[in-house]
């Protein structure tokens, strides 16, 4: 049989040409990626996954298909003792977002903090692609919108409204907990009373229905908002020498605390108890001495 090689070669020539150049491109690309920092590699993987999800799932024509915004650098200005700081750490880690953590000395605030949060001069501040976002609840919503993977908020508007209600409740009432160690006498009594009311409300209204977490089976930003109750309250009780949270009085809350602290990201990212105890005790002494 006479095989016409000329004909075959001509027809596959463009194909070989494309494959060859594609191969070169792939080689160059992998060399570039190999040289990227871990941060950028994670961000690149995150983006490519997101693009894939968006292309296959998200039919919104307005959403830019190539949203490199989630590849931009993420920095978090935080403080190791602050539950508000941890809310953001937990959210970032649960979503697999790489970030640079900057520990802030609140007794000597950095130019970066003062520039990023001139209104309140507080932590946490998330800086994404150079743009600052302040207030932990606002930061959590922002993180949820930019990196929708491992969702931390329900998709149904009514359920979201409920979640937001409890986050606001946590924001409004949590300061009572820290006031327990910051005050004495009548002021402390009020802080204890307010904290107990908060716990009672959560027990009676927030955790109804044998749920594992506030939002059901999965951890959400509501659980993170109550982080202070799960970990900080116990330490503060020791600092003040008071017993506020009695397990038998708050059975649902007690279960929730166990569930919350068993989540690996939470378990691995909590401030050291002894370190906290020592520092808060010192702080309390200083505060009471200055009164």
């Amino acid at each position: 049989m006479n095989i016409n090689l000329d004909f075959n070669y001509k027809s596959i020539k463009p194909f070989i040409f494309i494959c060859f150049h594609f191969g070169i491109l792939a080689l160059v690309f992998s060399l570039i990626v190999h040289r990227l920092s871990q941060t950028r590699k994670d961000a690149l993987i995150g983006s490519l996954s997101l693009i894939t999800i968006r292309l296959t799932v998200d039919a919104r024509p307005t959403a830019t298909l190539i949203e490199f915004s989630n590849m931009e650098e993420v920095k978090l200005i935080g403080m190791w003792l602050s539950p508000y700081s941890y809310r953001v750490i937990w959210a970032l880690k649960l979503k697999g977002i790489a970030y640079e953590y900057i520990e802030e000395d609140l007794s000597n605030k950095s130019p970066l903090l003062l520039h990023s949060n001139p209104v309140q001069k507080k932590i946490p501040v998330l800086i994404h692609g150079g743009k600052p976002i302040c207030e932990s609840s606002v930061i959590l919503e922002y993180i949820e919108e930019i990196w929708p993977q491992n969702s931390l908020l329900p998709s149904d508007p009514y359920e979201r409204a409920i979640a937001r209600f409890w986050i606001k409740f946590a924001d409004d009432k949590s300061p009572s907990i820290s006031n327990i160690y910051r005050t004495s006498g009548e002021e402390q009594e009020k802080a204890v009373k307010d904290s107990l009311e908060m716990l009672k409300t959560i027990e009676e209204h927030g955790l109804v229905g044998e749920k594992k977490f506030f939002g059901g089976d999965k951890i959400s930003m509501v659980d993170m908002a109550f982080g202070a109750v799960a970990h900080w309250l116990g330490v503060i009780e020791d600092v003040a020498g008071l017993k506020i949270f009695e397990q038998h009085k708050f059975p649902r809350l007690n279960s929730w605390i166990q569930n919350f602290k068993e989540v690996p990201i939470i378990k691995e990212n909590l401030p050291d108890r002894d370190k906290m105890l020592a520092l808060l005790k010192r702080r309390r002494e200083m505060l009471l001495a200055s009164e």
């Binding site: 994404h128 976002i133 207030e135 919503e141 922002y142 409204a161 937001r164 209600f165 409740f169």
Partner: protein
Amino acid sequence: MGEENKVMLHGNWSSPFVKIVHLALTLKGVPFEYVEEDLENKSPQLLKFNPVHKKVPVLVHNGKPIVESLIITEYIDETWKNSPQFLPEDPYKRAKVRFWSNFVQQQLFGSIFTIIKTEGEAQEKAIKEVSEKLQLLEEELKEFFPDGSCSIDSENVGLLDLVFCSLFGPQKVEEEVLGLKILDPGKTPLLCSRVTAINQLSLVKELTPPRDKLVAFLKFIRENALKSASG
């Protein structure tokens, strides 16, 4: 109106928080039933729908209650997607709107309320705080509106506008009750022109209570607060 898509708003005429929600529903063209609550004698329904705080506003949609004015407004925005969209599309801009709406409603409002309820040194301190906070707000508005633009119509009202509108009514009743200006166009021109613009909307005008009623109400709050302070 059947149970399907039934919307009710429990409110009180004097509450700025209710005003935000009332405006939001009206601007979106959502049909709803308004229930005026007597805050001295709260209805069993209100207590059932908001057992935690027992406050207005409460939005009840298809029998399910939503509370907290800013949360309700976001819910309205997410459920009725026609314009005006109260929150912007861009996540960073949304974060800014949320931050400032909270700031104005909690911190600024709190300080203004202190001015109303106190006198002497305590009042002076609150006046200073309000002035500082208004300046911060003015600086931020310069970024939101770099070309100083201030045209508002019923299609482009934002969440922050609703919050301004709830706090700063057109009649400047606080001037009469307190004998001082809270908003000064000389100090915060952009904020003042934004507030004026939104108060010109006919929908807003319709929802503004009569002047004498507001003056009487503020006077009552002030007198009561001063009386209980002096014991």
